[in-house]
């Protein structure tokens, strides 16, 4: 009796703690979204948790000052979709190759992928920049998209996942029926691996969508800017006093991600666990 009472009291305290943490996670975003709908004087007067009605005016203020948010949005979508498609397809291809065939440097390749996950690759950006500028590829999206064919994180996930879905008998049966190896991969394995590919795709997309460092190093033309690069300019002097439009700009950058998360949070949460546990 006493024992269960103690458990009950403890549970109440834990719930209070959990709710405080949850509020800490949500409140900043909620204030952001609410402020996007309020006028600048309102924002300066104080915090409110109730939306205002100034969203349209804020939006106009933002876009009238040459903040080409639709353009940035389009650029970010182009890059992120490209990265997602390439990294999912080629990671699955690599994983299939590793799991189905037995060849002489297979173990080495897998070891290499593990090492690459643990190695800071961002620091080679200086060499990468210089190399791309020699090829006249700065201000192009090629250096931002094409390297996705060798994304170690995605490959690591794909290899773990492929291990659990590869069905050898099915592959053998397809071979007996005269199906080529590439066709087996495309027509049989890719459809089977769809759920995993989907989860990997979300991660690739979000990672590319949020990436600031690489585009920031490589792109200098303002019409090529991605969304994070545009968001960064919101901190500067042009908007310093116009808080309403700053918050609109910020809202545009996070609302798509929040929507994606609201729909697919189950896949995303299981995807994070996938990489760590099966190791």
């Amino acid at each position: 009796m006493n024992y269960s009472l103690r458990t009950k009291i403890m549970r109440v305290f834990i719930y209070i703690f959990l709710v405080i943490l949850a509020v800490m996670c949500i409140l900043p975003m909620w204030i952001l979204l609410v402020n996007a709908t309020r006028t600048t004087p309102e924002i300066q007067q104080g915090i409110s948790l109730v939306p205002g009605s100034n969203f349209v005016a804020n939006w106009r203020n933002l876009t009238n000052r040459g903040f080409s948010i639709t353009n940035g949005f389009k650029n970010s979508v182009t890059i992120s979709v490209g990265v997602t498609v390439l990294s999912v397809y080629f990671s699955m291809m690599f994983a299939y190759g590793i799991q189905v065939y037995d060849f002489f440097y297979k173990k080495f390749l897998y070891g290499l992928v593990i090492v690459l996950v643990l190695v800071p690759t961002q620091v080679s950006i200086i060499g990468f920049y210089r190399y791309m500028s020699m090829l006249k590829l700065t201000n192009s999206y090629i250096p931002l998209i094409v390297p996705a064919i060798a994304a170690p994180g995605a490959i690591f996930l794909a290899v773990q996942y492929m291990q659990s879905v590869v069905i050898r008998d099915l592959i053998d049966a397809a071979r007996i029926d005269g199906c080529g190896e590439l066709a087996i991969f495309h027509k049989i394995m890719l459809p089977i691996a769809k759920p995993g590919a989907f989860t990997m795709g979300i991660f690739a997309f979000v990672g590319s969508w949020n990436n600031f460092f690489t585009p920031f190093m490589l792109l200098s033309k303002i019409e090529k800017y991605t969304l994070p690069m545009l968001v960064q300019t919101l901190r500067g002097d042009t908007y310093r006093t116009d808080y309403g439009s700053i918050y609109v700009g910020l809202a545009v950058s996070i609302v798509p991600i929040i929507i994606v998360y609201a729909i697919f949070s189950k896949y995303i949460v299981s995807g994070i666990a996938m990489g760590a546990v099966k190791e």
Partner: protein
């Protein structure tokens, strides 16, 4: 050898198409060599030259860049900052995540709404770091909500302590949910039969935690530690965008990566010097990461020594490749 054995062998021989393995892994190998390996080697090369952005010619200056770097008090400061910011956000991060995952997986507490709480805690990790930086800059600005709330007018970004604290808090805020998910997955994968037999033997909750949970969770903890270290040593986005991009006030949030960018974007564009910062970050991170993996992996208490040895051998082989 029976007839059927022979048949199986022949059938297998016919179906052996192992050379396709080369084809399927070729895109990765080519992509890796072109976009990761070559830039890395090239960065190492640049770090021993005096290349600048403008000059067409450059010459090899040996280890001069590195000598200058270690004499540079800004570099030493950025090194200290990076470690400080990483450690001070990682320790509470793993602490809170551990506490939460113990609560969430505890059979006696039977917490409800675990999935929702977990989903909420992970949300900050998905948001654009650029947005988060600008958002927190506004929150803590002179006339921002934080000052309004406490009716104060503290200039947080003039104080080195506050600014470092804000970066540490934001990093913690962004990452504790992710760590929680990983730890929870690890804890739920531990077989309940261990705990059952420990309960029968009269073990206390604390004993179960230190004798069962922690040892079995070790691979996951190592994974978390190493991935967080690799990310932390390259920290750039939040400290770069929170203040002026030079680690203001007085270089208190200047990380190594920011210093690298500052050297690169300086008027002369010291590519050689910037590359040497990159090389130092690379070496520090790799040495620490492999030391952690070696030290913590090989003392596996679970008797899975064989597999961990194979793994570390694979790592070593791979390291030789890099």
């Amino acid at each position: 050898m029976s007839v059927s054995d022979v048949n199986i062998k022949r059938r297998k021989g016919k179906l052996e198409k192992n050379y396709y393995g080369y084809l399927f892994t070729a895109p990765f190998i080519i992509g890796f060599l072109l976009f990761s390996f070559y830039p890395l080697i090239y960065t190492f090369y640049l770090s021993i030259t005096n290349t600048t952005l403008m000059s067409e010619t450059s010459k090899i200056v040996g280890l001069d860049n590195f000598k200058q770097l270690f004499d540079d008090k800004f570099f030493m400061q950025s090194l200290r900052n990076t470690w400080k910011i990483w450690l001070l956000n990682f320790i509470p991060q793993i602490g809170i995540a551990m506490l939460l995952s113990i609560w969430f997986t505890n059979n006696r507490l039977k917490m409800k709404g675990v999935g929702i709480f977990r989903a909420i805690y992970y949300l900050p990790n998905l948001l654009m770091p650029a947005t988060i930086a600008v958002l927190f800059f506004n929150f803590f600005s002179m006339y921002g909500p934080v000052n309004q709330l406490f009716s104060q007018s503290t200039d947080y970004f003039r104080s080195t302590g506050w600014t470092q604290g804000i970066v540490i808090f934001v990093q913690w805020w962004m990452w504790f949910g992710s760590t929680l998910i990983v730890l929870m997955a690890g804890m739920t994968s531990i077989s309940p039969s261990y705990y059952e037999s420990a309960t029968v033997d009269g073990a206390s909750a604390a004993q179960m935690f230190t004798k069962i949970t922690l040892p079995l969770l070790k691979p996951i903890l190592v994974y978390t530690l190493v991935t967080s270290l690799v990310g932390g040593m390259q920290m750039f986005d939040i400290p770069f965008m929170l203040t002026d991009g030079r680690g203001s006030p007085s270089g208190s949030i200047m990380t190594m990566n920011i210093l690298m960018y500052m050297k690169f974007s300086s008027t002369k564009g010291h590519i050689g010097a910037a590359a040497s910062v990159g090389v130092v970050i690379f070496i520090i991170t790799c040495v620490c990461a492999f030391a952690i993996v070696r030290l913590l992996r090989d003392k596996d208490p679970e008797g899975t020594g064989v597999s961990s040895k194979v793994k570390s051998r694979e790592l070593k082989k791979g390291a030789a490749g890099v």
